[in-house]
């Protein structure tokens, strides 16, 4: 409950403050968001399966964002940034769907 509240607070603060993202960081923002979403879906699934662990969640959250951003950054440096962002989005998207399916099953069958 507190966590959901935190999410809401984050959104509200973000909408109110409207922080300016430095130009060099802009391409990584959506990727970071997808990576973070993946971590959150994983966390929710783990929570429903009764094995949630906050330390694992935080580590996966941070490492997801960093790795995704790093992959895209390297891609940008060698000229395949757009393709690698697509790859990251596809892989994380599949994971999100998979976790969402597991969450759905947990909620409606268990």
């Amino acid at each position: 409950m507190i966590a959901a509240l935190g999410l809401l607070i984050g959104v509200v603060v973000g909408l109110l403050v409207q922080p300016t993202v430095p130009f060099w960081l802009q391409p990584y923002l959506p990727i970071a968001l997808i990576a973070a979403l993946d971590a959150v879906f994983g966390g929710v699934r783990a929570l429903l399966e009764g094995i949630f662990n906050d330390k694992v969640f935080v580590v996966s959250f941070v490492s997801n964002i960093l790795v995704a951003a790093l992959v895209v950054f390297i891609g940008d440096q060698i000229g395949v940034g757009a393709q690698l962002s697509t790859a990251v989005v596809v892989v994380l998207g599949i994971r999100i769907f998979s976790n969402a399916a597991a969450i759905r099953r947990q909620l409606f069958h268990a």
């Binding site: 999410l7 984050g10 922080p19 949630f52 662990n53 969640f57």
Partner: protein, 314 residues
């Protein structure tokens, strides 16, 4: 990560696992059962570390009181990161929305600037035409004073007529050509950048050349007179005639023998080509005879560098 290297560790929450797995054999080794990369991504969507941590430290899930104690500190940590997630999401959305109007504004500014400059050019062009008419009138008056002058005046007006620096009128042909209907039913090359369902500069070039070939004496596109110095070319998606952007439909008017012009054009290479373009790409065109056409004067009559050879002037 911690559990990445260990083969024997539980890959997925077996405890809760059975319903969570749709396919793949749960008994065999997870490495062997993954037939493809996508399968692997799908089946290992949940970080292995959760299961690993649960196996190592099953207390919080089992007992109530310690779990509560943990969730006090851990819940706060998780909340902090969810705040970060919310921030990220809101910022990303704001960023995208902020960028869109900026692009639209730039576009709008460019469009209005183009309109303004075009109007300016139109005004200047009108001024040029008025002045040119004035010059012609004054020159005519001056030349009327002598017999030689009168002959020269006649010669000048004949040359003016054929070089297209004066407006002309006469019977002729009107060809209206337009892009294909934007239905998308016609095949168009997906790549290559050129949308063949649109009228291209070379279509207009072909059309104008066909009209000259058929015996046209004066040609104009959308009110832009074609002279010996007029270029028909494209810049981006726009077609420029005499360096002025035109937009479809393009009306090509040609003055010439009303009975000979149309059949000669339709039977010529350009006419055939146009029919092919029409059938293949759906470009629409329409040819009609007109009893009286009025074509404006061409603009580019001032030669700054090309000089007449001296001895030719006799």
């Amino acid at each position: 990560m911690a559990g990445q290297g260990t083969i024997d560790g539980p890959t997925l929450p077996r405890s809760a696992g059975a319903p969570a797995r749709v396919f793949g054999s749960p008994g065999s080794s997870p490495r062997a059962s993954t037939v493809s990369l996508l399968d692997e991504i799908w089946h290992e969507a949940l970080d292995r570390d959760y299961a690993e941590a649960a196996r190592r430290d099953p207390v919080p899930a089992a007992a109530g009181a310690p779990a509560r104690r943990r969730s006090g500190r851990g819940g706060l940590l998780v909340s902090v990161f969810l705040v970060i997630l919310g921030l990220l999401a809101a910022t990303a959305v704001v960023q995208v929305q902020r960028r869109a109007p900026a692009a639209a504004q730039t576009r709008q500014a460019l469009i209005s600037e183009i309109d303004q400059r075009t109007t300016e050019t139109d005004g200047l062009q009108e001024g040029v035409e008025a002045l040119r008419a004035e010059v012609g009138r004054v020159r005519g008056e001056a030349l009327q004073l002598s017999d030689d002058g009168e002959a020269l005046d006649e010669k000048i007006s004949r040359l003016e007529l054929s070089t297209g620096v004066v407006p002309v009128t006469g019977p002729g042909l009107r060809v209206v050509i337009d892009d294909a209907e934007p239905s998308g039913s016609v095949d168009q090359p997906a790549s290559g950048g050129v949308d063949a369902t649109r009228v291209l500069d070379r279509d207009l070039q072909m059309l104008v050349n066909g009209l000259w070939e058929a015996g046209a004496e004066a040609v104009a596109i959308n009110g832009q007179r074609i002279t010996a110095l007029t270029a028909i070319r494209s810049a981006g998606d726009a077609i420029l005639v005499d360096y002025r952007p035109l937009s479809p439909p393009y009306t090509v008017e040609a003055i010439g023998d009303p009975r000979a012009l149309e059949p000669a054009f339709a039977d010529g290479a350009a006419g055939r080509e146009l029919r092919v373009v029409k059938e293949t790409f759906g470009i629409r065109f329409d040819i009609s005879s007109v009893k009286r056409l009025e074509l404006p004067a061409g603009s580019g009559a001032t030669l700054r560098y090309a000089k007449r050879e001296v001895k030719e002037h006799s």
